[in-house]
């Protein structure tokens, strides 16, 4: 254990603090995301990349900052942004899930082509995993990719594709070898969304917005080289992506940002004039959550160190999604309680406008339920934790047929 800050670390912390103070007006509002990045967001992202406050350890050849991995540096940057309440950059499925997947198993050409535009926020990805008939049972995917005249030809349907209505690309799990057993017959393709055979129908959710979609494929042609690894490797690649999805959804830095935002609200004078932070019953609720977020953050530091040292964190990594999404929901629960009745005014704006603070908190509060369900529901997570993490026996297979 060595968390000593070197001169370089102190200098970095000062630099990040100076950066957030100087540029905070240029930053987009944090939270509430799930929209195509607008010009303000893209410019902010470019500024972060230029300073190495985003994609810090991604090699320069692929558009990153190319710094060696230093856990403390990453923690300093994340801390400074959340304390300042300034957006730490774009977090979407392309950046947090596809990019690390490509860095792990993509070809050199794929990394050069896709990583840069994705981390700049120019190329938006959506995830083609769930189908109407295969949600939790992901490996049962039936969307078909047949090989005809030098192309994959895709037919089928995906559901819960968040951001498909504005995405440029999809990473798609589909069945390329129907004659092989369930898990062995899948492939992982990179599919442009502007293909004429793709139809996206918005799916309105409980937030009142259409964050999700149904996506239909009719004879969609995909070049044979737009596959990650090989035919039949789809389950393996999908699981690499799922590993990163679990980490994204349980992101401890996001939890810390929320905590800081709630703290700021609780410092404001409440309805009776006294800030809620000065009222013991409210303060204790915040403190309980602060303790839990603290555990999540320090756990994250441990995982980052293990990752850097090539150690498999096993159980420690498997719990992150379940732990983080449940805690996230408890944080947004406190936020909407802090706003109380006066925070019930709710008018979500369209795709391009920013929502007001109260509406954003209520969207996040509801969207958190979606995050608890999506990316492998909490119950699926508990199966994974129990079986892969603790080595508990699997559920016996139900009898086939009959």
């Amino acid at each position: 254990m060595d968390l000593t800050l070197t001169e370089n670390h102190r200098a970095l912390r000062d630099a990040v603090n100076a950066f957030t103070a100087r540029h905070r007006d240029r930053a987009p509002k944090p939270g509430g995301g799930r929209k195509r990045p607008d010009q303000k967001v893209l410019e902010w992202q470019a500024l972060l990349l230029e300073h190495g406050y985003f994609a810090r350890t991604i090699p320069r050849d692929y558009g990153g900052f190319g710094a060696p991995r230093d856990v403390i540096e990453l923690a300093i940057i994340a801390d400074a942004f959340s304390r300042a309440g300034v957006s730490p950059g774009i977090h979407n499925q392309g950046i947090s899930m596809l990019v690390p997947t490509l860095l792990e198993v993509g070809t050199e050409e794929q990394k050069r082509r896709w990583v840069g535009p994705t981390i700049r926020g120019e190329t938006i990805w959506c995830q083609g995993y769930s189908e109407p008939g295969s949600g939790s049972d992901l490996a049962a995917a039936q969307t078909r990719a047949a090989v005809q005249d030098g192309h994959f030809v895709v037919n089928g349907q995906k559901i819960w594709t968040s951001s498909a209505h504005y995405a440029d690309m999809m990473f798609l799990l589909c069945r390329s070898e129907p004659e092989l057993p369930k898990h062995a017959g899948l492939s992982y393709l990179l599919v442009p969304m502007n293909n004429p055979g793709i139809e996206v129908r918005p799916l309105r959710t409980m937030t009142g917005r259409a964050e999700f979609n149904e996506t239909f494929f009719t004879d969609v042609r995909v070049p044979l080289d737009q596959i990650v690894l090989s035919r039949g490797d789809g389950w393996r690649v999908a699981n690499i992506t799922l590993k990163y999805e679990r980490l994204l959804l349980g992101d401890a830095n996001k939890l810390q940002q929320r905590l800081e935002a709630i703290l700021r609200m609780m410092r404001e004078p409440g309805p009776e004039g006294t800030p809620l932070l000065d009222q013991p019953e409210w303060r204790d609720r915040l403190l309980r959550l602060q303790g839990e977020v603290m555990a999540a953050r320090h756990h994250n530091l441990r995982l980052l160190t293990e990752q850097a040292e090539g150690v498999d964190s096993g159980l420690g990594r498997l719990i992150v999604k379940y732990h983080g999404t449940m805690l996230g929901h408890r944080l947004t629960s406190l936020a909407i309680d802090v706003m109380g009745a006066s925070g019930l005014a709710y008018e979500p704006q369209g795709e391009m406008a920013e929502d007001d603070a109260a509406t954003t908190w209520h969207i996040d509060y509801m969207y958190d339920i979606g995050l608890i369900i999506g990316g492998g529901s909490s119950n699926i997570q508990k199966n994974i934790i129990g079986e892969r993490g603790l080595g508990l026996p699997r559920e016996p297979k139900a009898a086939v047929g009959a």
């Binding site: 254990m1 303060r283 199966n383 079986e387 993490g389 559920e395 016996p396």
Partner: protein
């Protein structure tokens, strides 16, 4: 620059754990716990041979000169095995108190702590937020009054008694005018001791009257040790619940294959796993990150108290009726967790102290 244990720490942890598991199978633990005095001579000597007594004492005074994180690893291992041993008060809190004192008391007492030749019960009284009598007065070097809830006090050779102003007086456990009343606690591996004093001469007075900051650091180190102890005890209960779920069959299936049972185990692991890094960080902060020492110690004690209470219930439940019996001895860890939560400040008190440490509430 890394967040994790060193190779030396892993080796130390392994040797301590294998020592404890060979010494404390459940029948042995049952026997050692029965008197309720929290002490066994052989175990104490064995721990001394592993270098535990002087773990925090600087090398110039005959100790190992290690840090709070090393001590927390030891506390976790002791909690895992519910070891009856006066580690927290004597080895950690008293050593920290004397290490922060002047040259004379350091020279006089630290070598004796490191040698395991004395064991010091510690009473923080009101400074710990603990309930019970805490009215102590020091006049002309003599201690009078009463103090309840002294930690690790039954087999102690000395007591370190804190005054409300933050100073502490060391007294001999056999001194005239001192009455020590030990009681068995719900946790038979740790005793409760109440003291009354009538003009008991102090052997040393440490600290100054201008604040309780040093005393609070001793208290916070104790809170980290209790958190580590709860982590160990809860991890033990989880490990045993998982093992039981892999061997017990009902309805023709291993019970761990039922989602009801599997999910209880998954919930325990999900709650408990992040606590390990939290304890490491808080322990490290006591030596290395002074500005976060108080808030992390308090949060860690409070959080572990909440998590380990849940784990204690769920792990017992996974064992079904067997978990409720004396037979498996699972209850030693259950009661250890019960004890740890209440001493040196409740979770509510600790969270309040964390608020004060961050300037969110007045002290």
């Amino acid at each position: 620059m890394r967040f994790g244990l060193s190779e030396e720490q892993r080796l130390f942890d392994n040797s301590l754990r294998s020592f404890l598991s060979s010494r404390l199978p459940v029948e042995a633990l049952r026997r050692l716990a029965e008197p309720g005095n929290g002490f066994d001579k052989d175990l104490w000597h064995g721990l001394g041979e592993l270098g535990l007594h002087g773990i925090l004492v600087p090398e110039e005074y005959g100790g190992a000169g290690l840090g709070t994180l090393d001590a927390a690893l030891a506390a976790e291992a002791l909690g895992y095995h519910a070891a009856p041993s006066p580690f927290m008060a004597s080895v950690v809190m008293a050593a920290k108190a004397f290490d922060a004192a002047g040259e004379a008391p350091r020279r006089d007492w630290l070598p004796r702590i490191a040698a395991g030749e004395i064991r010091i019960g510690v009473g923080l009284g009101a400074i710990s937020g603990q309930t019970g009598r805490a009215a102590v007065e020091l006049r002309n070097g003599e201690l009078s009054g009463a103090l309840d809830g002294v930690l690790d006090g039954d087999a102690a050779t000395h007591f370190l008694v804190y005054l409300p102003d933050g100073r502490a007086a060391l007294i001999d456990a056999a001194a005239d005018g001192l009455t020590a009343t030990p009681r068995r606690s719900v946790d038979r591996t740790r005793p409760l001791v109440d003291l009354t004093f009538t003009a008991v001469p102090s052997l040393a007075v440490i600290g100054t009257t201008n604040g309780i900051e040093t005393a609070a650091r001793v208290r916070d180190a104790g809170r980290v040790m209790l958190a580590a102890d709860m982590l160990g005890a809860a991890q033990n209960m989880l490990d045993r619940a998982v093992a039981y779920a892999k061997e017990r069959s009902q309805f023709g299936r291993l019970i761990g294959s039922f989602q009801g049972v599997k999910y209880m185990c998954a919930d325990m692991a999900t709650m408990l796993e992040p606590c390990r890094a939290m304890v490491w960080y808080a322990a490290y902060a006591q030596d290395g990150i002074p500005e976060e020492a108080a808030s992390t110690a308090n949060h860690t004690k409070a959080h572990l108290a909440e998590v380990s209470r849940e784990v204690a219930r769920l792990a017992t439940e996974v064992h079904g009726g067997m978990g409720f019996t004396d037979l498996l001895g699972l209850h030693f860890q259950f009661k250890r967790i019960t004890f740890d939560r209440q001493v040196l400040g409740s979770p509510e008190q600790c969270r309040r102290d964390a608020a004060v440490a961050q300037g969110w509430a007045a002290g």
